[in-house]
Amino acid sequence: MDEASGMHYWRAVMAVAKRWLTTYIRYPTWVISVLLWPVLFPFGYVFSMRALAGPTGEALSSFAQLAGTTDYVTFLVTGTTFWMWFNIMLWGLGGSFRMEQLRGTLESNWLAPLPKTFLAVGVFLAEALMGLVQLSMSMLTIALVYGVRLAGSPWALLSLILISIPSIYGTGLIFASLVLVAKEINGLIFFVRGLITVFCGVTYPIAVLPGWMQSVSRVLPLSHSVSAVRAVLAGGGFGTIAGQLRYLAVSGAVLMALGFLAYAIIQRRMLHAGTLGQH
């Protein structure tokens, strides 16, 4: 790509990102997903845990043995906040190409004389930006409503969030490409987020799982993000989460590369098969 085409490419990327953000803000109910959902989503789990703990906390000792804390509220809302970040990414980035397919604009956009990755990069940038805004707002609201406090290093927390981005959005790009082939998003989202809910220790300590499920859990980057955030909130710093940071950096690079590769493969396949406009 020469300099002029490079400029055209980035202009197209920014146009996609701008269009995505404009559409997102166009529907005023986006506020709900940013401000209300992070507070409301854990609600059912918090009170289920309270019921399971018993009126005098008679069952809390069992939970503490597995989770290392009796503060089940902080344990839970940390898991659900990251789960929601992942979920919002799946619907946004994961559904972006599918939405264009449904609205009949995917074919015309792909006719632009640019490398077809401009769509993926544009949506990724907009989604990552909005995702970070949502995550920040979510953390603020759960701190206010559930009284979650950061006892550890804020810089470790920030680094952890930033280093989680490639693994989360890399998964999203792979997912978005698969959605184009399957031509169905709801079922796939339910499946992926279901796996995350089961294996990443969102609502319970991973130690309660059978051995084989714990092995699966250790492979998933989000398990590392969630456990590291819990460690930092409990007072940890860079030293406490060094292992998780390394794992997230490597898995993030691999997943981002796989994401763009999947997009390129699916794009070629659909152009050859002529199925781009079908839905």
């Binding site: 109910t29 609600f43 019921a51 000792s61 169905e184 796939l188 609502t203 319970y204």
Partner: protein, 277 residues
């Protein structure tokens, strides 16, 4: 003009067949209808295990009289899935038709709008029933649970609730027409009403202000009465009283839903905003 029930039934049948055809065209979706609830049940099972003392949920027993959290949750999930089926079946179907540009043309057909709205939820209800039966069997095999009471009286308890939900679903569909956005609104309303009504936990664990809201929601008494009938849990009030509340709720919501949807529909027609999305 379509007049009389035979034509209305034909329209309902056509909408049902259309939805069935769409559903069967996306096999991934069909498979996920079974897998997804199991994926939601699995964390619940492990969450309950993480609080179990010597394998028994003594904390739950102190609140409800039962130690079987899986059965407690399954019953809540079954009722919630019908709430969700009616809400999504109506509101989300409207949004889908807006997005694909067929809402206006559908409204131009002689089939009354109410019949169209009812039709949109029929397949959803059918699917939910089949789904619940299959998932109930899977959860029973995987995690195990036991109902100690009789099923038929419990079904009669929830029957008026189902009719009442249609009234609520109509009002919600009206809101979707105004805001042009379905996901957030339906998710917010459907999820939080069910949770606040005790779909996942006994409402007695709620702090007083939330308990007051919960006790004002008729859905709370549906969860409570059905669990009382099938699991023998301690109920908030005598079951006959809860049943009377549900019947009254049915008349109120159906009337209110019809009024709200009718007014919003007229407004959309006057403003010409039906095709906006």
């Amino acid at each position: 003009m379509l007049k009389g029930w035979p034509q209305h039934l034909r329209a309902l049948g056509a909408i049902f067949r259309k939805d069935l055809q769409v559903f069967m065209s996306y096999p991934v979706n069909a498979v996920m209808r079974i897998l997804e609830p199991l994926m939601w049940m699995t964390p619940v099972y492990f969450m309950a295990r993480s609080f179990a003392v010597d394998g028994v949920n003594i904390g739950l027993r102190a609140y409800t009289g039962t130690t079987d959290y899986v059965a407690f949750f399954v019953l809540g999930a079954a009722i919630s899935s019908y709430v969700s089926a009616v809400f999504w079946g109506m509101g989300f179907a409207l949004k889908n038709e807006m997005d694909t540009g067929v809402l206006e043309s559908n409204w131009l057909t002689p089939a009354p709008l109410l019949v169209q709205m009812l039709g949109r939820s029929l397949f959803s209800l059918f699917l939910t029933t089949v789904n619940m039966l299959m998932i109930g069997c899977c959860v029973w095999l995987l995690f195990g649970f036991e109902f100690t009471g009789r099923v038929l009286p419990a079904l009669l308890t929830v029957a008026p609730l189902l009719v009442a939900l249609y009234g609520f679903g109509l009002g919600l569909a009206g809101v979707v027409l105004i805001t042009n956005n379905a996901n957030n609104i339906i998710d917010l309303v459907s999820n939080n009403i069910t949770i606040l009504s005790g779909a996942h936990f006994p409402v007695t664990v709620l702090p007083r202000p939330l308990l007051a809201i919960s006790l004002a929601l008729p859905l709370t008494y549906a969860y409570d009465a059905v669990r009382g009938q099938l699991l023998g849990t301690t109920t908030l009030m005598p079951i006959a009283m809860a049943q009377a509340i549900l019947v009254a709720f049915m008349f109120v919501t159906v009337t209110a839903g019809l009024i709200v949807f009718g007014r919003i529909q007229d407004r959309c027609r006057q403003m010409g905003t039906l095709a906006h999305h």
